[in-house]
C-alpha cells in the first residue's frame, strides 16, 4: 500500500475539522450578536428621531398661550372658589342668636315677658316676669321639651323663682331667672 495515498482523515485531522466547525459556529454567533445589537441601536435611534414629543410640546405651548389670554378670568374663578370655601366655613360656624331668641320667644305665654336677656358663647341668662305661675310653668315645660328634643338648646336650668308681693300681701307677679345652653 502506498503510504502517500490516504483517502481517510486521520484522527488528528478529524478533531481539527471539528474544532474549525465549532470556531465557525462561534464566529457566526458573534457576528449575529453584533448585527442584532447594531440593528437594535438603529431601531432605537429611529424611534427617538420619530418621537411626537416636539409636536406635543408645541400644542401644549399653544394651549397655554390661549389660556394665558384668559388669565384674569381664571384668577377670578380660582379666587371665587377659595372665597366661597372661606364663606362656607364662616356661615357654618357662626352663631345665630337672633333666630335662637326668636325660638325662645315663640313659646312665651302672653302674660310672660323677658326682662333681661344676655348671651355669650352659647350661654344664655334670661330673666322672666309673669303675672301667673301657670304661664311660667308652661314656659318651663316648653323649654324642657326643646332641651329634650335638642332643638335650639341642650340644657335649661332654673336659677331662681321669686314671687312679688304688694302691700296687702297679695302676690302681684312672679319673676324667674333661667340659664340656658344653646346648641
Amino acid at each position: 500500500m502506498d503510504k502517500d495515498i490516504n483517502l481517510l482523515y486521520s484522527k488528528k485531522q478529524l478533531s481539527l475539522n471539528k474544532l474549525a466547525l465549532r470556531v465557525r459556529f462561534v464566529r457566526w454567533i458573534a457576528f449575529s450578536v453584533f448585527f442584532l445589537v447594531a440593528g437594535v441601536s438603529m431601531m432605537f435611534f429611529l424611534l427617538l428621531l420619530a418621537s411626537p414629543l416636539p409636536e406635543l410640546q408645541k400644542t401644549e405651548s399653544d394651549l397655554t398661550a390661549q389660556l394665558s389670554q384668559s388669565h384674569d378670568k381664571i384668577l377670578k374663578q380660582t379666587l371665587l372658589s377659595i372665597r366661597l370655601t372661606d364663606i362656607a366655613q364662616i356661615t357654618a360656624k357662626r352663631s345665630a342668636y337672633g333666630d335662637d331668641l326668636a325660638s325662645l320667644r315663640a313659646d312665651l305665654p302672653a302674660s310672660t315677658t323677658i326682662t333681661d336677656f344676655a348671651v355669650e358663647k352659647n350661654q344664655v341668662t334670661m330673666s322672666l316676669r309673669a303675672s301667673n305661675l301657670e304661664d311660667l310653668q308652661t314656659y318651663f315645660d316648653n323649654l324642657n321639651t326643646l332641651a329634650k328634643k335638642k332643638k335650639v338648646l341642650s340644657q335649661a336650668f332654673l336659677n331662681s323663682l321669686e314671687a312679688d308681693v304688694d302691700k296687702d300681701g297679695q302676690v302681684v307677679d312672679f319673676s324667674a331667672s333661667i340659664s340656658l345652653t344653646l346648641l
Binding site: 381664571i74 377670578k76 336677656f117
Partner: protein, 250 residues
C-alpha cells in the same frame, strides 16, 4: 506573530498578514473576540442609553399628553363660564367676605339692620387699624369687632340680630345683653386678605363651583338683592351715619 505585527507599516503589509494567518485559529479567535468586544461596547454605550432615553421620552410624552388634556379641559370649562356671571358672583363673594377691612360696608350693614328692625342706636366706634399694608395682610386677625348700643324692645332687638345675620359683609353676634336700658350687641365683621402665595398654573384643574358652593352663592345673592330693595334711609338716619363716620378711628 507579535513581532510581525510590529513590522506592519502599509496596507500591503496588512494584506500579506491577513492572507498568512486567515486560516489559523489565532485569526478566528481574534476576530470573534474583536466582534464580541465591539458588540459589548455598542450595547453598553449606545443601546442602553438609547433605551433609557426611550423610556424617559415615553414618560415625557405621557406627561405632556396629560397636560394637554388638562389644558383642553380647562379651556372647555372656561368656555362654559360667562364673564358677566363670574363678575357678578365674584362681587357677591367679595361683598360677603371683603379682601380688606371694609369699614364703609360695616357701617352700611349696621344702618340697614337698624332700618329693618326699627331700633334706635347710639353712636359707636371701632378700631380699623392697618388698611392694606403688608403687616396687616400677614396678621392672623380676620375680623373687626364692634360694640353697639340699641334702644328698642326685645322684638326689635331680635329683628336687628336676624337682619344683621343676613346682611353683607358677613358678621356674627358674639355677645348680647338686653335689659331695661336697651341692648348692647357685640358684633364681629369678617374679612380675609388675598392669599399671598396664590399661583395660577394653567394645567391645574380649574376650580368650578360645587353644588354646595352654588347654593351658598345663591343664598348670598338673595341677601344682596334684599339689601338693594331696602328703603332709602331717612334724613335723620343719614345724619347719624355722618356722625358715625366722624367717630371712626383712623
Amino acid at each position: 506573530m507579535l513581532n510581525e505585527i510590529s513590522t506592519i507599516h502599509s496596507f500591503e503589509d496588512i494584506r500579506l498578514f491577513y492572507f498568512k494567518y486567515k486560516d489559523t485559529p489565532y485569526f478566528s479567535i481574534g476576530m470573534i473576540s474583536f466582534v464580541c468586544l465591539i458588540s459589548l461596547i455598542l450595547f453598553w454605550k449606545a443601546v442602553l442609553p438609547q433605551l433609557e432615553s426611550w423610556f424617559s421620552l415615553q414618560d415625557q410624552i405621557k406627561q405632556v399628553n396629560e397636560q394637554i388634556t388638562a389644558l383642553q379641559a380647562n379651556q372647555t370649562t372656561l368656555g362654559t363660564i360667562s364673564s358677566a356671571t363670574l363678575d357678578d358672583q365674584f362681587n357677591t363673594a367679595t361683598q360677603s367676605l371683603p379682601y380688606a377691612k371694609d369699614f364703609a360696608g360695616i357701617i352700611s350693614a349696621v344702618d340697614d339692620a337698624t332700618i329693618i328692625s326699627g331700633v334706635q342706636r347710639d353712636d359707636y366706634a371701632f378700631e380699623v387699624g392697618d388698611l392694606s399694608t403688608q403687616s396687616a395682610q400677614l396678621s392672623p386677625e380676620t375680623s373687626l369687632s364692634l360694640k353697639i348700643t340699641l334702644r328698642g324692645d326685645i322684638g326689635q332687638v331680635q329683628q336687628f340680630l336676624q337682619a344683621v345675620n343676613k346682611l353683607l359683609p358677613l358678621s356674627e353676634v358674639v355677645t348680647l345683653s338686653y335689659g331695661n336700658d336697651g341692648a348692647t350687641v357685640g358684633l364681629i365683621f369678617f374679612y380675609k386678605y388675598l392669599p399671598t402665595n396664590l399661583q395660577i398654573n394653567y394645567t391645574d384643574p380649574l376650580k368650578t363651583l360645587t353644588p354646595e358652593q352654588s347654593a351658598l352663592l345663591k343664598k348670598l345673592e338673595g341677601w344682596r338683592q334684599d339689601l338693594m330693595t331696602l328703603p332709602v334711609p331717612s334724613a335723620s338716619n343719614s345724619a347719624e351715619v355722618a356722625t358715625q363716620s366722624a367717630s371712626l378711628s383712623p
